[in-house]
Symmetry: C2
Subunit: 339 residues, 2 copies
């Protein structure tokens, strides 16, 4: 096979006429070695095509320069965009990223712990919203590696979180609707049990109150964030005959449901109703009318999370327990002026 033996540090040492310790130093701490020998070593490295064996290195140094990313669904577009940021930052700092798709299956979560317990990964990025199943068992808390949560915070655990500022984003979104003359604005997707939904509703309420508008409970509809829930919510409002001029939806999927419902009723959008989403998922620009929404800075979230984690790995203690990045208003065609 291709197992043509690779050059080791000894080969380099022999060729350069120095000891292996010197070679190691020449590579890792160039200042600690004399100019002349450094050159000899560099040349020998080039000639042998030597690259340091990461396994031996990791074994000796007890760190792998690898980060494990645990996510419930790797296929989720939300995940993949954050992944770009995570990967970019890690790679820039000489780390590799390992991915683990848990599918919310406890046994798979436990399975991935071997990467940690076997020293194959130094740190953990959690997309799952909870500690991996199997941790914090049998009092052995000390085994927890440095971790950072992304996308969803981990409740009841001291895990720093990096994500979008849902409250501020929802507020900006609602204020945008208000600035377009809307006074009766619905909130679709209330779910007090879900942190994300709760914060977005809070931002919505704050914006209304701040503009001197009253919050009408009949305009706040429950929803679990799916397209279907958005459709159902819109239908419900027609049945109840308590109609807004604008729908602020907890996310784009919900907004799409509302849009489908209104289109089916042949309303002229955005003339008769405005729709505002949150997230800016991929199809938001393709639907008709294209969706005005709040864009999550996903790449930057990934970068910030990885930066935080690598800092912790280097011994820094995180200054904040969470880092919230601002969402950006993307104006498209689903919001119009009222009146």
């Amino acid at each position: 096979m291709q197992q043509q033996k690779l050059a080791t540090i000894e080969d380099v040492a022999a060729l350069a006429g120095v000891s292996i310790a010197t070679v190691s130093r020449a590579i890792n701490e160039p200042t600690k070695v004399a100019e002349a020998t450094r050159r000899k070593v560099t040349e020998a490295v080039a000639r042998t095509g030597y690259t340091t064996n990461a396994m031996a290195r990791s074994l000796r140094m007890r760190r792998s320069n690898m980060i494990l990313i645990l996510a419930p669904d790797v296929g989720d577009p939300n995940f993949s965009n954050i992944l770009v940021g995570l990967e970019t930052e890690a790679s820039k700092r000489g780390y590799g990223v390992l991915i683990g798709n848990t599918q919310n299956d406890p046994s798979r979560e436990t399975d991935y712990l071997r990467f940690i317990s076997s020293n194959q990964a130094d740190g953990l990025i959690l997309f799952t919203g909870h500690l991996p199943f199997g941790y914090g068992q049998d009092g052995n808390e000390t085994r927890l590696p440095p971790m950072v949560a992304v996308n969803e915070p981990v409740p009841n655990a001291d895990v720093p979180f990096v994500g979008v500022d849902n409250f501020a984003g929802a507020r900006i979104a609602t204020e945008h609707l208000i600035s377009q003359g809307h006074k009766r604005i619905a909130f679709i997707g209330r779910a007090p049990g879900r942190e994300v939904n709760r914060l977005r509703e809070e931002g919505y309420r704050t914006a209304l109150t701040g503009a001197g508008l009253t919050v009408d409970p009949r305009l706040i509809i429950d929803g679990d964030g799916t397209t279907e829930s958005g459709r159902a919510a819109a239908e419900l409002m027609f049945v109840r005959d308590a109609l807004p001029t604008a729908f602020f939806c907890v996310n784009d999927a919900t907004a799409l449901g509302v849009l489908i419902s209104l289109s089916a009723r042949h309303y002229d959008l955005p003339r008769q109703f405005s729709i505002m989403g949150f997230d800016d998922i991929s199809f938001s620009s393709f639907v008709s009318p294209s969706l005005t929404t709040m864009k999550q800075p996903r790449t930057r979230i990934g970068e910030a999370a990885m930066d935080l984690l690598l800092g912790m790995l280097a011994g820094e203690t995180p200054k904040e327990s969470q880092i919230l990045l601002r969402a950006e208003l993307i104006v498209r065609n689903s919001v119009g002026r009222v009146g």
Copy 2:
């Protein structure tokens, strides 16, 4: 920190009252060790919480049980769905996956080679459509690890490929249009230089010929697979006044462009024109009318590719130079009966 020393194989051996060799065997080749000692070892493992140090293991065995996935854009939804399959299969077989986002940057590609040359990965999955920059240089071909190409084949290199059967898929798609009574069917997205486009065009032609229809060159329009190219192609056909009853588009993005163009002209779809896509990307079910298309079996592609690679790693020689999986016809609302 959490560096509370982990249990080693020696701790287990001491507790079980056997040698470390026996412990290793009890874990890795249970049949080679007596029933009684095996139980002692198992218990000692449980009590110490021992997990084998992957670094030491990899160092000794000269394999890491890691696969490196090199992709130009990790954020691409096409990638992430295949990734699910890759990851699932790898994990099932005890392998981990490492991801590398190259952004088509040669220096980044070269950079990731260190994972190979430093023994951090045993095999390579290529999404890039070409060998990583820096390989096959200086005649050192032997350094190439086992590789499998996915998504895009690697030209001029002996790399097995796993992907969708574009020819058969395009043929099925076209035959579906024919079955709905269409006789004047356009092909949007001709690009003979691109393998994917060429094969899909070929499938289209074969279906027409097979049904006794003539191929009208005026109905075959160039395009690079972008939404804009689809829009432009449709406009061009109106200008030329050589109109089909159905548009078979090289991919969904192109189909979307056609759909936008026709919608803007206020045609009633699919009554006046039918549109067929290829790929089944995420928004295809959301546009109006929702897109009839060929679905790529992405998860299965990932699984098949990983299965092939792991087989090669185990010493098998791949039987075929490529594995083509069938695309599945997804009937939605953009194709209607003619007449």
